[in-house]
């Protein structure tokens, strides 16, 4: 009863487009004139990524033949396996650019931390849908979910991978929100991040954000104690952020955080990356400087331009038109995944699809925010585009699982 028309070709095409744009950008960022300034190892990145793309495509196709129930069945063993790998990495891992998060497997360096994202999503979805009417509205259930997240997060901190840990922290509220956490509580949960963000820009904005959030919570839940405690929390966050910025943190650490709001304070130091990345994007203009013609890219003004700052390459060389195409592809990716979740009947599938969209979205927001100077620079990859085999493969497998469950949604009964 398999009908190829049921397959979500749009999403596959979006995935392929993003990955191909990534390859073009990686090529330009490592094999143009810039190669003169790069170690040979980096110049092989394009070849390696191409191989990873081919592997990803194969794996994606292969996954379409797996019965959808398998993912749910093996979610926990897989999660445990990944956690084991992460612990292993701490002891026998390879250090690459300051973080102990790599495991050498044959010719490839793997990041178990990437694979664990997939495992965590599957495990959480499996846990939440394993018993009927499991909702994070229930405190015990919610705590189990938090625990499932907390294990990889703490392991990532042990590996000095705070950036990746942040993705889990960003994903957690989305998962809890989808699985039934009351809206007001969900908002309360993310309010510290929002309030702290505005406080860093301006103290008054932070207070304003706290008041707005309190008002929204009051309208949603109509509970005075909740609204008031949200306001209290908000003000504590504002004060805490201010104290942290001015009392606890060293001036250079503070500068790193505040730099995105005012990069010209230290243009050669902390502000350098922000100035260079916004300059790269801004100088691209409408049409861009052309493939391999970006001066910021080719003359090595950008740091990590094949991974964290890859959007600068696209923005500079392909301009607003190129950037808009990438933006539209991501929009299609997110909306399609969410709509796919909406049209599915099985809560496990829904949970995985929303989590996948959430994972990609958190990556997207932090990475794009960093390169365009909207948030402090946090080294994080852009899904499907940035160089990185483990990340590409993990993201692709996650998408492949979503495609699989969508493809088989009629035979993937909610009943066992």
């Amino acid at each position: 009863m398999v009908n190829l028309k049921d397959f979500n070709w749009t999403l596959l095409l979006t995935w392929a487009s993003l990955a191909c744009i990534g390859l073009v950008a990686i090529y330009s960022a490592t094999l143009g004139e810039v190669s003169e300034f790069l170690p040979e190892q980096i110049q092989e990145n394009f070849m390696r990524q191409s191989i990873w793309f081919a592997i990803g495509l194969t794996v994606l196709a292969f996954i379409q033949f797996v019965p959808p129930r398998t993912f749910q069945l093996f979610a926990f063993p897989f999660y445990l396996f990944c956690i084991f790998l992460m612990i292993l990495t701490i002891f026998v891992g390879v250090e690459v650019s300051g973080s102990q998060s790599w495991l050498r497997v044959g010719p490839f360096n793997l990041q178990p931390g990437e694979l664990t994202k997939l495992a965590t999503i599957l495990a959480v979805a499996s846990y939440l849908t394993g018993k009927r009417d499991a909702s994070t509205g229930n405190l015990k259930t919610a705590l189990v979910v938090v625990l499932l997240f907390a294990i990889p997060i703490s392991l990532l901190f042990l590996q000095s991978e705070a950036g990746v840990a942040l993705v889990y922290i960003g994903l957690l509220p989305i998962v809890l929100f989808w699985s039934g956490l009351p809206y007001a509580i969900s908002l309360l949960m993310i309010s510290p991040a929002i309030i702290a963000y505005f406080t860093i820009i301006d103290l008054r904005l932070g207070i304003l954000a706290a008041v707005v959030i309190m008002t929204i919570i009051f309208f949603i839940q109509q509970k005075k104690w909740l609204s008031l405690s949200s306001l209290l929390l908000g003000i504590l966050i504002v004060i805490g952020t201010e104290v942290a910025l001015h009392q606890v943190l060293q001036p250079h650490q503070r500068a790193r955080i505040e730099a995105f709001a005012n990069p010209t304070v230290d243009p050669q130091g902390i502000g350098w990356n922000i100035i260079q990345s916004t300059t790269a994007i801004g100088s691209g203009g409408l049409y861009g400087k052309g493939f391999m013609q970006g001066t910021q890219t080719q003359l090595r003004f950008l740091p990590e331009q094949w991974t964290d700052f890859i959007f600068c390459v696209i923005g500079e060389e392909f301009g607003f038109i190129g950037a808009s195409i990438v933006m539209l592809l991501y929009l299609i990716l997110f909306i399609k995944l969410l709509l796919m979740a909406n049209s599915h009947n099985h809560p496990f599938a829904q949970m995985v699809m929303v989590s996948a969209a959430g994972l990609y979205f958190v990556h997207f927001v932090i990475s794009m925010g960093s390169t365009t100077g909207l948030v402090p620079i946090i080294g994080i990859t852009l899904p499907f585009i940035s160089y990185g085999g483990s990340a590409l493969l993990t993201n692709t497998i996650l998408l492949a699982i979503c495609l699989n469950m969508d493809f088989y949604k009629r035979s993937f009964s909610i009943y066992r």
């Binding site: 509205g137 989305i174 260079q276 003004f301 607003f320 909306i335 829904q350």
Partner: protein
């Protein structure tokens, strides 16, 4: 929750999620729109400034040529070896040290210094290496990553001529120079003396600009836009001087070991054929990077090699002053050609003024030929007592003595021809000076002081029929297209000088060479007229003077020679002038005995140095 409720909850959650996604998506897209479309005009120039560096290209300095367009001063490349420390392979240090001919220790020391300046930018490792070392390194450059070179230039002096006081030296521009001319950059060299200083604006040329592509480390990646925007430097103008290379070279040789100065002029137009001051400094040693040790040395040298005696020296002209006295006396009627004065061996005015000439009767012509002092003491007595003093002063200045002659060199002295104002000032009023203070002026001693240049100008007046010419070293400046613009020196008839008076003085000077004190070393092939002089020197041996012009009938060259501490002018200065005359007219010197005599002459050493300042 019922199933229905749950589905409803899901739909709401989905709407919220989609809403958040779209909201944030629009924020980011808006930010990209702001950066790329709205702020494009801001970021585009930043990115260009980021990778384009404007560099200035120094122009080649103008050449200095002699009157026959022989190159006297040109530019010579200086090769410097540079290093980019981050690219340098330390294991090649021993190879590089070998090529540079230095030991590895000191090389590594230099590399460390360069690292301290910058790891990624070019620093000079060794400056002014020889061409041989430079080419050895170029042959091995493929195995020396990070090593490069720069070529700058310094002055090179040709033809065995230093003419250090005519050409002058260059030094790094001072803060005042930078203020005066904004085009100068740090480390640029500008003329600090001589022609290099006076014609600095012509010689320097105009800076060129070059646009280079640079990467984030500041390394240069070659020319931007294939050099379309580059503005090549404009070479400085060449100076076509009036110097005669052969004459200048010989005169410099003749003065080796002597102190003094000589100036040879073309009396018809004031062109300086040779200008020498001795001792000279070694201009070659001031050409490259500053040799501090040598600079110190010449600054404290008691023979003051930086001092241009040819135009700055102030010495009494001695008897070379007499022809001009004669012209004055004739003009104001103190004497006539027939005036005869008896010389008893001295002139008496309050005391005896000695006269070395033979006892006997002297008219002007004879008084010049045999340099009788009595004749001129007698004349000065009348100048002083009959109120001609100020007129005398004014008219003597017409010859170019006691005034500036506007030569195109710095530090020219006016010398001194005193007048009553001067005497009042220095003696404290009219009553404190009198005839006795003026008597010695009549024979060019005492307060009268002149430079060799002034004597050459004054001699020219006699030679050219009464014209005061403006002495000058540069005839024309020539731009890069070959267009020449000529200097416009003055030439002015001194209206009071009469041809018959001149003729009389000329005859006297001619006879100096044929039968007087100048006869011993006269050059037989061209006629000359001259006058010897001896400046009394209270600090030591007297200074010898000789003025001359030749040919006597139709003068082409006027020469003034001063040799300090050399005794009688006829013994030292005259042979030098005679050899200069021979060189000028024959293009060489055949009288070896005379040449050797001059070269081997050792002047007396002065006991006490009198620092002469303007």
């Amino acid at each position: 929750m019922t199933r229905n409720n749950k589905a409803k909850h899901s739909r709401t959650s989905l709407r919220i999620l989609i809403g958040i996604v779209i909201l944030i998506w629009f924020i980011i897209t808006g930010r990209i729109f702001q950066l790329q479309i709205l702020d494009y005009e801001t970021y585009s120039p930043i990115s260009r400034q980021n990778y384009i560096r404007q560099e200035f290209v120094s122009p080649a300095r103008g050449l200095i040529l002699d009157r026959n367009e022989t190159i006297l001063v040109e530019n010579e490349p200086i090769y410097s070896i540079t290093i980019i420390p981050s690219k340098f392979d330390m294991s090649k240090a021993s190879l590089l040290a070998d090529l540079l001919g230095t030991d590895q220790e000191s090389l590594l020391e230099r590399v460390r210094e360069a690292q301290q300046y910058s790891w990624d930018r070019t620093s000079r490792l060794y400056t002014e290496v020889s061409f041989e070392v430079f080419s050895n390194i170029q042959e091995n450059i493929w195995q020396l990553p990070g090593i490069g070179h720069t070529i700058e230039s310094k002055r090179h002096y040709n033809q065995g001529i230093m003419a250090s006081h005519a050409f002058g030296y260059l030094r790094e521009a001072s803060p005042e120079d930078h203020e005066r001319s904004p085009q100068l950059r740090m480390g640029d060299k500008v003329g600090k003396s001589g022609l290099e200083l006076v014609y600095e604006d012509y010689l320097r040329g105009e800076l060129g600009t070059e646009y280079l592509r640079v990467n984030a480390y500041g390394q240069s990646l070659g020319s931007y836009n294939n050099g379309e925007l580059n503005q090549p430097p404009r070479k400085g103008y060449d100076l076509i001087t009036t110097l005669d290379a052969g004459l200048q070279r010989l005169t410099e040789q003749l003065f080796v070991g002597k102190t003094g100065g000589a100036v040879a002029l073309d009396p018809r137009n004031g062109e300086i054929l040779a200008l020498v001051s001795s001792p000279q400094y070694d201009i070659n040693r001031l050409a490259g990077r500053l040799d501090r040790e040598y600079w110190q040395e010449i600054n404290v040298d008691r023979n003051t090699p930086l001092y241009n005696r040819a135009i700055s020296s102030r010495q009494p002209p001695g008897s070379t002053f007499k022809p001009f006295m004669g012209l004055f006396g004739l003009q104001v009627g103190l004497i006539t050609p027939e005036t005869v004065i008896h010389n008893p061996g001295y002139y008496y005015r309050g005391r005896q003024y000695r006269d070395e000439a033979d006892i006997g009767d002297y008219d002007l012509e004879r008084a010049l030929t045999y340099s009788s002092n009595t004749y001129f003491f007698w004349m000065m007595d009348r100048i002083a007592t009959r109120g001609y003093f100020n007129e005398w002063s004014r008219m003597m200045k017409d010859f170019g003595m006691g005034i500036l002659n506007s030569v195109d060199l710095p530090h020219e002295t006016a010398g001194l021809i005193p007048d009553s104002t001067y005497m009042n000032r220095t003696h404290g009023g009219e009553r404190n000076w009198g005839v006795g203070d003026l008597m010695s002026l009549g024979v060019g001693q005492g307060l009268v002081s002149v430079s060799p240049l002034q004597m050459a100008v004054a001699t020219s007046v006699i030679a050219n029929g009464g014209y005061r010419v403006q002495p000058h070293l540069v005839r024309a400046v020539r731009d890069t297209e070959g267009n020449e613009s000529y200097t416009n020196p003055n030439r002015e008839r001194i209206d009071w000088i009469r041809e018959d008076h001149l003729e009389l003085v000329r005859t006297g000077m001619r006879r100096v060479v044929t039968e007087g004190s100048g006869r011993y070393y006269a050059f037989p092939d061209t006629s000359a007229s001259g006058k010897t002089g001896t400046a009394q020197n209270p600090h030591g041996e007297n200074h010898g003077w000789y003025i001359m012009y030749a040919p006597a009938e139709n003068p082409e060259i006027a020469i003034a020679v001063l040799v300090e501490n050399a005794g009688f002018g006829s013994q030292t200065a005259a042979p030098i002038a005679s050899l200069m005359q021979e060189q000028y007219f024959t293009g060489g010197v055949n009288r070896d005995y005379l040449l050797n005599r001059v070269l081997n002459f050792q002047p007396a050493v002065e006991e006490e140095i009198v620092v002469e300042e303007e």
